[in-house]
C-alpha cells in the first residue's frame, strides 16, 4: 500500500529544514559536550599536577632547610681544603736534611772525611700543588749542596762522586777542586757538590704524592 503525504510541499520543506537545523544544533551541542569532558579531564590533570607540585615543593623546602642546617659542614670542608692547600704550598719542594745527612753518612767512603757541608733549597717558582699539570717535574732542580773534604787518593773522590749519584734525586755530582796536600802524600783536599731534583723532595714536599 502506498502512503500518500497530503501535506503541502512548502510545509514538508519547512519540516525538513527544521530537522536539519536541529541536527546541526545537536552536533554543536555534542562537540560542546566533548569539549566539556576534555575540560574536566584537563582540570583533573591540573589538580593532580598541582598536588604533586605542592608535594615536591614542600619536600624541596624541607631539603633546603636541612641543607641550610648542614651548611657549616660544607664550610668546614672548604676550610680544611684551604688549609691543606696552604700546607702543601708551604712545604713545596721541601728536602729532608736529616735524610740528607743520613745518606751522606751512608755513602761517604772509608778513606775520606768531610770538613764542611752546605746545602740550600731553591725557592719554589710559584708552582701550585694540586693544580693539573703543574707538579714539579723530576728534572727541575730544587736545591743544591756543596761539600769540602779530605780523601786518600783520587780514586776515593771518584768513588764518592759515583755513590752520590746513586741516591734518588741527587744529580750533577761534580768536583770544583782536588788538590794534593803535599807532594807524594796521596792525601787530597777537595770541594764537590750535588744538585737535588724533585725526586729528593719529601712526601709532603711533593704534595703528598708517593
Amino acid at each position: 500500500m502506498t502512503s500518500v503525504n497530503l501535506l503541502p510541499p512548502e510545509l514538508r520543506e519547512q519540516q525538513a529544514i527544521r530537522r536539519q537545523t536541529a541536527l546541526v544544533a545537536l552536533g554543536g551541542v555534542a562537540v560542546l559536550v566533548l569539549l566539556g569532558v576534555f575540560y574536566f579531564l584537563q582540570t583533573g590533570q591540573l589538580s593532580s599536577a598541582q598536588s604533586d607540585l605542592d608535594q615536591v615543593r614542600t619536600s624541596n623546602a624541607t631539603l633546603q632547610q636541612q641543607i641550610s642546617e648542614l651548611q657549616p659542614y660544607a664550610d668546614l670542608q672548604q676550610q680544611l681544603e684551604a688549609k691543606k692547600q696552604l700546607k702543601d704550598t708551604l712545604f713545596l719542594n721541601e728536602v729532608s736534611w736529616s735524610g740528607v745527612l743520613l745518606d751522606v753518612s751512608r755513602v761517604i767512603p772509608d778513606t775520606a772525611y768531610l770538613t764542611s757541608l752546605t746545602g740550600s733549597m731553591t725557592a719554589p717558582t710559584g708552582a701550585v700543588i694540586g693544580a693539573t699539570g703543574t707538579s714539579a717535574g723530576s728534572t727541575s732542580l730544587i736545591g743544591t749542596m756543596t761539600f769540602s773534604g779530605v780523601a786518600k787518593q783520587t780514586e776515593t773522590i771518584a768513588s764518592w762522586l759515583t755513590t752520590l749519584e746513586e741516591i734518588k734525586g741527587w744529580v750533577n755530582p761534580w768536583v770544583n777542586s782536588a788538590q794534593e796536600q803535599s807532594a807524594d802524600t796521596g792525601i787530597y783536599t777537595f770541594d764537590s757538590g750535588i744538585d737535588f731534583t724533585a725526586d729528593a723532595a719529601t712526601v709532603r714536599g711533593r704534595g703528598g704524592a708517593k
Partner: protein, 228 residues
Amino acid sequence: MNRRGPLIAAVVSGVIVLLAAVLIVLPKKSEVGKAHDDLLTAQSEEATLQTQLKVLQDAQAAAPVAQKQIDKIQKQIPSTADLPGLFRQLRDVANLSAVDFFSFSPGTPVTDASATFSTLGSGIVVTGSYFSLEEFLHRLETLRRAAKVTSISLAASGTETTGGAGQLQMQLQVEFFTTDTSAGPGSLPGPTQGTAPVILPTVSPTPTESPSPEIPSPTESPSATPGA
C-alpha cells in the same frame, strides 16, 4: 524558518564551540602544560637538592675527622706567631737530640704575597755530634709546628785544644709559619686573618691535647735511600 536555518545553526554552533575552546579549554590545557613543566623543574631541583644533601651528610659524618685535621694543621700553622711555644718546642727538640742549643734568632714575620700567611725566617745554630745533629734535624722536620729548613751549613766546631774535638756546628735557616698576616713587632696584636672559624652545630668538641710536649715519632723515611 527559511532555508538558511541549518547554515546559521552551524555557524552559531561553530562560533560557540570555538569560543569555548579558545576561552576555556585551551587556557586550561596551557595551565596543565605549565603545571607539568613546573613539576618537572621542581623534581629536577629535588634531585639536585638530594645530591647536595647527601654531600653535606657525608661532610657531617666526616666532620670530626676534618676538625681533627684542621686542628692539626692549626697547630702546625698557628693563628699567631706564638714565639713562646716555638721556643719551648725547639728547646725540647734540642734536649731530646742531645745537642747544645746554641742560638735561635727568629726573624720578623713577612707576609706572603697571597696575604694568607706570614713566614718567620729564623736562624738556628746548634753544636753536637754528627748523629745528634741529624736527630735534631729529624725532630725539627717533624715538629708539631711546621718548620721548613731552607739552608744548612755544617762544619767542625772546635779543636782538640779547645775541647771541642768531634763536635760539629750546624747553622740552619728555618722557616716557621703563621696565618697571622700582621705579626711581629709593631703589628696589630692577636691573630689577623681573613677567614672566620667555622662554628659547627652538633660536632662534639675535640679533646684537648696533653700540655706535655710530644715529639711525633717518625712515620716515614724522610729521604731517598741510596740505590732506591
